[in-house]
């Protein structure tokens, strides 16, 4: 996978790179364990990608740490280390954003486009705790920005078409850079019909339509001070979710931020970045297009977040440190209105998220110590205060049906601590880490009210009395690299206490028509999760390169029962040919049969599969215009399959031909 670049240095921002010429970085830089998926650089999407106009979901799932839960063609839910949204942290340039859908139909990755982003940084476990509390790890999606290099205009146009689902993609980016000013704008539009599976059957309600526009502008009002504003507006309409009983008529986000960056001259402080941000999400579910629903209902949700962070990076002899103070305020509301068949009857209304306000403040500190030119020790810690309040009196009264003595607010303290040692000499590297972290229950886990989960067919009730979930984690990495080939194995083990899950409450009657019962969120004594992945790469010759990935996951609760969404053995292998302006790749991707599944959580045995993909690209210049053409076939043999993480076993796409075009001038 050519889009995996392992950075071996501190977190560089593009900004720092642009300053790098003036201020050389220390000779000894400690290692930081993270994985970076390159998505785009400046106006151009990453042309080494098999399909440059792939969705952000398709980019992310290339990581061995990431799996995707798929409920349709659109808005897949990323899992890190086989842990879902509640246990992970996804940020956009360090900004916290919270989904507005009670049914997880809008992971925050669905509110950005590949054209907005330059890369995704994936960190495992507590290493990802810089921007908030997490158990499984973090993904930070970094915005694309020109910076102050390469003066002048830079324009690109992208267009794409996919035969299966007839997806049409059109995008453009226009960037303008001056010595002390730059502005980047980009636009992308996608529209897809229903796709067909490997048996040639149309998967109904798998269509979507999405529109995204964004802009980033920076102004350097001194050689070392930059003010940068950024806006993303994203709107998806008519999004089908074939695996769910409802679709989405509107998913809309406005994501804004203002950043001030300061690079003190001749100081221990390398960089000081302060950002304030605001984002608002509106999400509306829709059942009006479904042929028969037992009762028509509206289920809108809203999520508004204000926040800031201030982050200092510095060097003190061999100590490379980061201090980050961050805080956010979020308001999550979701409601449900049901329309009785008898229109004279009053509407049935309730809050599914009872206007939950979250106020979070954390102080994070990291010290990366270069012990010598081969080894480094990283130590990081954070302490956060997490405050929840139920602001709707009606919502509070609803929850008091289950918890009569419930208070309207709850305060939690979330500590995190982690340490990592890494060693690197003559191509051989290894590292190990130990960490502990806690998280607060999510809004659904704490305050959800009759949230229907179509996977196990239960209505879920939140539990405000849940204790913090905490995780003790150990990780090991071993790698070996020569100029011809490289191998890297990493594994992590999580011992998670107070593991939050839903437990059936026999006496309760479900509200949703057809549901099997009611589950109340509760905590298991503990659960254990183990993940191991192997990344191999071999450069056979100047033109031929092979890559391989193997991932193994394991997850059990304290009674030795399987946890849900634990990946079976999965693999990926690709052979890449690149000569001059021509590239071609053939790749196979597959899973073994899922034997460790969990019927308790609605899972069944998923058969193994393997699909073969092929793509080929050619770049050429036409006067000043640079062009890149990519064509490819996914699932060449039209295999009918679904994976362990396909919600309700909806089948994946059958054979698909795509064409991606990029023009840059």
């Amino acid at each position: 996978m050519k889009n995996f670049i392992l950075f071996t240095g501190l977190c560089f921002s593009i900004f720092q790179i642009s300053f790098a010429q003036e201020k050389p970085i220390d000779t000894i830089t400690p290692k930081d364990l993270k994985e970076v998926i390159v998505i785009g650089k400046k106006s151009q999407l990453f042309q080494n990608q098999a399909k440059p106009l792939a969705t952000i979901d398709e980019y992310l799932q290339q990581s061995t740490k990431v799996d995707m839960i798929r409920r349709g063609s659109y808005a897949w839910e990323p899992m890190i280390n086989t842990m879902t949204t509640e246990r992970t942290l996804i940020t956009i340039d360090g900004m916290r954003i919270f989904s507005a859908c009670t049914d997880k139909m809008d992971p925050i990755t669905s509110y950005v486009e590949v054209s907005n982003l330059s890369e995704a940084t994936i960190k495992s476990g507590q290493q990802g705790s810089c921007h908030g509390a997490t158990i499984g790890g973090s993904i930070d999606l970094q915005r694309n920005r020109s910076g102050f290099s390469n003066l002048g205009w830079d324009t690109s146009v992208n267009a794409g078409f996919e035969t299966n689902s007839k997806q049409k993609i059109i995008g453009s980016a226009i960037n303008y850079v001056e010595r002390s000013f730059y502005i980047d704008t980009d636009f992308m539009f996608r529209e897809a019909d229903n796709y067909t599976d490997g048996k040639g059957q149309e998967v109904l309600f798998s269509q979507f339509r999405k529109f995204n526009i964004s802009s980033t502008s920076g102004f350097a009002f001194d050689t070392n001070k930059v003010l940068e504003g950024s806006v993303i507006y994203d709107k998806a309409t008519n999004v089908g979710y074939p695996a769910l009983p409802m679709d989405v008529s509107l998913a809309e986000a406005l994501i804004t931020s203002l950043k001030f960056e300061y690079v003190p001259e001749s100081s221990k402080i390398e960089n000081w970045e302060t950002k304030i941000y605001y984002n608002t999400i509106t999400h509306k579910m829709d059942d009006t297009k479904r042929p028969s629903v037992p009762i028509h209902m509206d289920m809108p949700g809203w999520s508004d977040t204000f926040g800031f962070y201030s982050k200092v990076k510095g060097v003190l002899s061999s100590h490379h440190f980061i201090a980050d103070l961050n805080s956010f305020y979020n308001r999550s509301v979701a409601e449900m209105t049901m329309y009785p068949a008898d229109s004279n009857e009053k509407l049935m209304f309730m809050y599914t998220w009872p206007d939950v306000k979250t106020f979070y403040t954390a102080l994070f500190f990291e010290d990366n110590i270069a012990l010598n030119c081969h080894s480094s020790l990283k130590f990081s810690t954070s302490l956060a205060n997490h405050y929840n309040q139920v602001a709707s009196p009606l919502g509070l009264e609803s929850l008091r049906i289950f918890y009569p003595n419930m208070k309207d607010s709850k305060n939690r303290v979330l500590p995190s601590i982690s340490s990592n040692y890494s060693y690197d000499e003559n191509g051989f590297s290894y590292g190990f880490g130990l960490a502990f972290g806690e998280r607060a229950p999510s809004v659904s886990e704490g305050y959800g009210f009759y949230l229907f989960n179509s996977f196990d067919q239960f209505d879920y009730i939140g539990n405000p009395e849940l204790r913090n979930e905490n995780s003790l984690e150990g990780s090991v990495t071993i790698g070996y690299k020569t100029h011809k080939w490289s191998a890297k194995m990493s594994s992590s083990y999580f011992y998670i206490s107070n593991y939050i899950v839903g437990k059936p409450e026999e006496i309760l009657v479900p509200m949703t028509i057809g549901a099997s019962g009611v589950k109340i969120y509760t905590a298991l004594d503990y659960a254990t999760i183990f993940n191991a992945d192997l990344n191999l790469e071999c450069q056979f010759s100047e033109v031929l390169k092979w890559k391989g990935q193997l991932v193994y996951s394991y997850g059990k609760d304290f009674e030795d029962q399987n946890l849900p969404f634990i990946s079976p053995l999965r693999y990926f292998s690709s052979l890449n040919y690149k000569k001059g302006k021509f590239t071609s790749e053939i790749a196979v991707q597959g899973n073994a049969t899922q034997t460790q599944y969990s019927p308790f959580y609605g899972e069944d045995r998923t058969l193994g599969f393997a699909v073969l993909n092929f793509d080929s690209g050619y770049s050429f210049a036409f006067e000043k215009v640079k062009c890149n053409v990519k064509i490819g076939i996914e699932n060449i043999f039209d295999t009918y399959y679904s994976t362990f993480s396909d919600w309700n076993n909806i089948p994946r796409k059958g054979r698909n031909l795509f064409l991606n075009l990029a023009f840059n001038y």
Binding site: K346, F402, M511
Partner: protein, 279 residues
């Protein structure tokens, strides 16, 4: 500035002293009530009041005041009893009712409840006879009253498996809310046509359901029981959302035998006795 502050203080003081001089208790006693009927004889006028609108089929909490027609003063030393009677084609009968008691020592408002188990129609009607004594002298007055049918079922009359005829009526909450509601219900039996005493030590099981939404139920309801013999029954009604709820009932006697009503199962979607609320 200082002058303004003093002025403000003076105004507040005057205002406060004015209100305290008024006849506050009498006003408060009728707070939230509307006058539904005036009945007059030669000596007195009786004003009937009710919370939320007019009398209707079901449980009615009624307040009343007696005014002396000559002095226009309200009487505060009366002893009152009442007798509602339904005039049907072939017979007459009464209904469950409470004694009439004075609300407060100083006030002049009297109150009690009447449970109209059936509504009037074109040929059948209710009248109310009020007997009262003031200073040892007895008076009476009778008037036809309007008792239309209630929009939702608030009272049910049935014969139990013990062959006794019962009346069960919904009293509270007047304004149901999403959440846990304190619920009050009355249970009476028909001793004869004119006497309907409270039944003691029974239990009224409730199972609120939403027929329009898959007939789902709500959790943590508390069945209604009596705290003091002779009183109404108290329990907890939980409502998870707004809309139309059917409260399915089962009446159990002191030994726990079901006298009437069915438990809700997949096959039985509603009990033969129930109340309805919609909000």
């Amino acid at each position: 500035m200082k002058f303004l502050r003093i002025l403000l203080l003076v105004i507040v003081t005057i205002f406060a002293s004015c209100t305290s001089n008024n006849d506050v208790p009498a006003l408060n006693e009728l707070n939230g009530l509307t006058k539904v009927k005036e009945i007059t004889n030669t000596t007195h006028t009786i004003e009937l009041y009710k919370h939320m609108g007019s009398l209707e089929q079901g449980f009615n909490e009624i307040s009343l005041k007696i005014k002396d027609n000559t002095t226009n003063q309200y009487i505060n030393n009366a002893t009152i009893s009442w007798m509602p009677v339904m005039h049907m084609a072939m017979m007459t009968h009464s209904c469950p009712k409470s004694p009439v008691t004075k609300l407060s020592v100083d006030g002049s408002v009297y109150e009690g409840y009447i449970v109209f188990q059936m509504a009037q129609n074109t040929t059948e009607y209710w009248d109310l006879k009020i007997d009262y004594t003031i200073g040892g002298k007895a008076y009476t007055m009778t008037s036809v009253i309007d008792v239309p049918a209630s929009a939702k079922q608030r009272v049910t009359t049935f014969t139990g498996s013990d062959s006794v005829r019962y009346i069960v009526a919904y009293a509270d909450p007047h304004h149901p809310k999403v959440g846990i509601n304190e619920m009050v219900v009355g249970v009476w039996k028909m001793q004869d046509m004119m006497n309907f005493p409270v039944v003691d030590n029974y239990k009224l099981k409730i199972d609120p359901r939403m027929p329009s939404m898959g007939n789902h139920s709500s959790p943590n309801n508390v069945d209604l029981t009596q705290i003091v013999a002779g009183d109404l029954y108290n329990g907890k009604l939980s409502l998870t959302m707004t809309g139309y709820w059917k409260i399915n009932l089962q009446l159990l006697n002191a030994t726990g035998t079901v006298l009437k009503g069915e438990a809700i199962t997949d096959a039985v979607s509603a009990s033969s006795i129930y109340f309805e609320i919609e909000f």
